[in-house]
Each structure stands twice: as C-alpha cells, then as structure tokens.
C-alpha cells in the first residue's frame, strides 16, 4: 500500500499535522507566528547548504534554524530593536540569502518551487519514518515541559516570580520548533509551514475550553486539512502544499461560522 505515492504523501502529511497541532497552539499563544516564519525562511538557507556540503537536508535545516533561534534569543535579551522589527529583518534576509545562495550554485539543480511550496508527493518511506519517530520524540519532550511552558506562556512574570525556569524552557521550545520545521518542510515548503502550524490551532479555538483540548483539537483539524487538501489536489490537479493550507483555511472559516451560529442560538434560547 505504501508503494503508492499518494498514500505515502497522506501518511506523511497526517504525521506532520498531528505533531503540528500542539506546537501551533503554543506558537499562537506566545504570539510567535512571525517567529515561526523567520525560522522557516531560514530553512531555505539550510537546504542550500545541505546541497552544497552533501549532508542530510533535515539535519542541515535544523542546524540553521537552531542557530537563528539562538541568535534571536540573544538579540531579544539585548532589547536594542523591537521584536517585530528584528523578526522582519531576519526573516526576509534569511529568505533572500537562501535564494541568492541557490542562484550562485549554478552547477546544482535545485527545484526552488519544491523548497518554497513543498513536494509532498515525493516523500519516501525513510521520510515517513523520520516524521513519525521524530514527531513522537518531539511530542514526548513537549508533554514533559507542557505545564511549566504553558505557565510561562500565560505570564512570563508570574512564572519567573514563582520559581519557573523560563529561559531554559524558551530555548528548548525554540529548538523543538526548529525540529518541527525541519521535518515538515518537505510537506508544505518554507513559505507555508507557519500556516500549517497556526491555522488549525486558531480554527479550533472557539470549541476549546482548556489548553490541552485545544492542542488535541488542533491536531485533529490539521489531520482533516491534510486529508481534504491532498485529496482535492489529486482530483483537481492543484499543487499539494498550498491545497492543504487552503483546506485548513476553509476549515477555519467553517469552524468560526459554526461557532458564531451556536452562540447566537444559545443567546436566543
């Protein structure tokens, strides 16, 4: 069954969506979606370097993302530039640097489209096992630090004052996000990873009464988006990565319409 490219894509996509759910929630709560973008964009540079030095792409992307997130942490502590300006600077510079670097290496044939928008239909069995094993590891670590990192997300000051270890937690979280990006890049590409992280999370917000429920529902919403997006891309012959994001967007609109009408019914009765 896994011989079929479509089934492989589906299995890989579902794996990424399940991992992305809880991480997406934290990124939304921490107001870090632009940060996710910055990391993802710097992933492009990672891809280029992987081609140049003939190393594993996932590893190379993770390394670059990790370096960028540590730089960001240090620069944020410096407080010389406001965070959004800093992210704007790094995000687009990283993207441009990556594109320029690819342009320089004329001897390499890199499919820029695949890097930017994903190439899920070419996933191999090895990719799938990396997604599932790596994803499982990521979720385990996240579960382990969930309570304190959620506390620090609600209020950094409260968590600091009451004995939290926020700086280490922040660092761990950024490294985890770098890994999520590294394993999901092939699915939707560097430009759309943030969408896959945050759209399912905000789609299910109206139905969530607790942070944990929201994390689980976000994974479920991601699952639905991947299945619908990939199926429609097969039938309508549309690019698969963007189709997944469009499906997630449609899901978001429907979810919020349903929630609004439920609210109206409740207030009417």
């Amino acid at each position: 069954m896994l011989d079929d490219f479509f089934v492989r894509a589906l299995v890989a996509g579902v794996g990424v969506a399940l991992v992305a759910g809880p991480f997406g929630c934290l990124i939304v709560w921490k107001r870090m979606s632009y940060f996710g973008d910055t990391l993802a964009h710097s992933g492009l540079l990672g891809v280029t370097l992987a081609y140049l030095f003939q190393v594993n792409i996932t590893l190379s992307v993770f390394t670059i993302c990790a370096i960028v997130s540590i730089c960001l942490l240090l620069m944020q502590r410096n407080r010389s530039l406001p965070t959004d300006a800093l992210l704007g600077l790094l995000s687009h510079s990283a993207l441009a640097l990556g594109l320029v670097a690819i342009g320089f290496m004329t001897w390499l044939r890199v499919d820029i489209n695949a890097v930017l928008f994903g190439d899920i239909l070419s996933v191999s069995i090895e990719d799938i096992s990396l997604i599932y094993l790596g994803g499982m590891g990521l979720l385990c670590v996240l579960l382990w630090i969930w309570k304190p990192i959620f506390a620090a997300t609600v209020s950094a000051e409260l968590s600091d004052a009451e004995g939290g270890n926020r700086q280490i937690l922040d660092l761990i979280f950024m490294l985890l996000v770098s890994l999520v990006i590294a394993i999901s890049m092939q699915l939707v590409g560097v430009l759309l990873i943030t969408a896959l992280l945050i759209i399912p999370a905000i789609a299910v917000r109206p139905f969530s009464t607790s942070p944990e429920l929201m994390a689980v529902l976000a994974s479920a919403a991601g699952f639905v988006s991947v299945v619908l997006g990939l199926s429609s891309s097969l039938y309508l012959d549309t690019p698969s990565g963007p189709s997944i994001v469009v499906a997630a967007f449609v899901f978001f609109i429907l979810a919020h319409l349903v929630s609004a009408s439920l609210k109206r019914q409740r207030s009417a009765s």
Partner: protein, 272 residues
C-alpha cells in the same frame, strides 16, 4: 529580636537602554511583615519589586532571596489573549498543583467562587483582580507580592481587600510586599513604607513617612492630611454579592443610615 528576612535589595538599580529606571533601592521584607512601596507613576515601584523577585536582574547592587522561597505574585498587568482557553480554575493551578478544596476555599476568601469554571476573558477587571489574589493566596506563599492589588476593585471591596491581606499575614505568617501609588487605604495595614521616586525618598513607619517633608513634596499637603481616613473603623462590610455584614455578624440587603461610614455621608465620616 531579629526576624527572618525573606528578600532583600541592597542599593539595587536598573538601567535600560542608557536610562536608570530606579537606583539605590534598599529594603527587605521579613516573615510576618507588611512592607509597602509607594510613589507616583513611573517611580520604579514595580521595577524594584521585580528586581527583588528575580524577574529583573539589577544592573547595580544586589538582590537576595532566601532559598526555597515560595512566592505568590499578583502582577500589575496580566493580559490574557482570546486565543488562550483558560478557566479560572486552571489559572489558579498554573504554577503549582493543588486540590479542589484548596482552590474552592481560596476563591471563597476573595468572594469569587461562583466564577470557578468561567473563562478568564469573560471576567471584569475587579473580578479578575480577585481571582489573581485568590491564586496568590492559594499557593500558601512565604511571601505575597501584590502590585496595585486594588485596581478595578470598588471602594468597599478595597477596604475588605486590605483587611484580607492583614488576615493572611497573620494566618500564613507570610511576608507581604505591597505596591501602591498612594498611601490611601494601605496605611492601616502597613508596618513599613518605602517611598520611591526614581530613588528612595524616605522610609519608615506610615506615621513617620507622612510627616516627612519629602513625602509632602511628592504627594502634596492634602495626601498627608487625609491620613485621618485610615484610622476610622468601619462597622459594616459590603460583601461581593451586594449584601452587607454588620459588626455583630448579621447580614442585610443594605447598610443602615446610622452605620458608620455610610455612602451618602462619606464627607462627614472622614472625621472618623
């Protein structure tokens, strides 16, 4: 008798992007003691408290905490985004585990146990403030740090709140660090006052501070004279649900005209 110190700042100061927010702050809070930081807006009260708590690292001077200190903190601002689903109950157990009874009794003390399962975004400012206080006391802290705890709480609630803080100090034998922009209300409950305005202006007992010329310069003659307000006794308490508890413990819908400090006679009752 030397009491056990919980936190101490020694000539601490914080500089951010070239400007000193506050400098030369020295104070300590001991077990069972209520210390109040007062000063105008931007005088470095919150900054000093944050340095003492280890939230901010002082640029100069020293911040010291006794080891294993359990802190209950009510920050001045806590904005919780709509994106975060968070019930009152969950907010209370945010940093430490506790059982249902502990949550319930803490919320009862601040009069908001009916809000237990409410989403925090649906609370009013005063309700949220009461929930934050309940959260801090539910931790059974060694040190309670309250940054403008009365914001959004109505006048009578404010009196009850400071009464509750004194009670908590006696009950938990904790130290209390209170931050306020004026001495209004907090006076009666305070052991020591530190008056800040970018640096330490004066400190001492509430009585000695209000008589200090520096304090009068900072807050005006009127602030010093309104000190009389805090020495009168209320003979009834307005409960959060709108009913009134009298000195003899009875509860009625409204307060009586002959009660001390009735609303329509507020001007007169200031005499105490």
């Amino acid at each position: 008798m030397k009491t056990k110190e919980l936190i101490r700042l020694e000539t601490a100061g914080l500089k951010i992007t070239g400007d000193w927010l506050v400098r030369g702050v020295t104070f300590s809070v001991a077990k069972g003691e209520i210390v109040t930081l007062i000063g105008p807006n931007g005088s470095g009260k919150s900054t000093s408290a944050k340095m003492a708590l280890g939230i901010l690292q002082p640029t100069e001077g020293k911040a010291w905490q006794t080891s294993g200190l359990r802190v209950g903190y009510v920050p001045q601002n806590l904005a919780i985004d709509w994106t975060m689903p968070l019930t009152v109950k969950r907010l209370i157990t945010l940093t430490h585990k506790m059982n249902a009874d502990e949550i319930e009794s803490a919320l009862e003390r601040t009069g908001v146990s009916h809000l237990k399962n409410e989403q925090v975004q649906n609370l009013s400012g005063g309700e949220f403030q009461r929930v934050l206080l309940a959260r801090a006391l539910a931790l059974k802290p060694d040190l309670l740090v309250l940054d403008e705890p009365a914001q959004g709480v109505d006048f009578n609630g404010e009196a009850a709140l400071y009464q509750l803080i004194s009670q908590l100090r006696d009950e938990l034998e904790c130290g209390v660090l209170l931050i306020s922009h004026d001495l209004h209300m907090v006076m009666a409950a305070t052991d020591r006052v530190i008056c800040l305005n970018g640096h330490m202006c004066c400190h001492g007992t509430p009585m000695s501070v209000v008589q200090n010329p520096v304090y009068k310069d900072l807050f005006g003659e009127r602030a010093a004279s309104t000190f009389a307000v805090y020495q009168h006794q209320h003979d009834h308490v307005h409960l959060p649900d709108g009913t009134v508890q009298h000195a003899d413990g009875s509860i009625t819908e409204h307060c009586h005209p002959d009660d001390g400090h009735h609303h329509e006679q507020e001007g007169d009752s200031y005499v105490g």
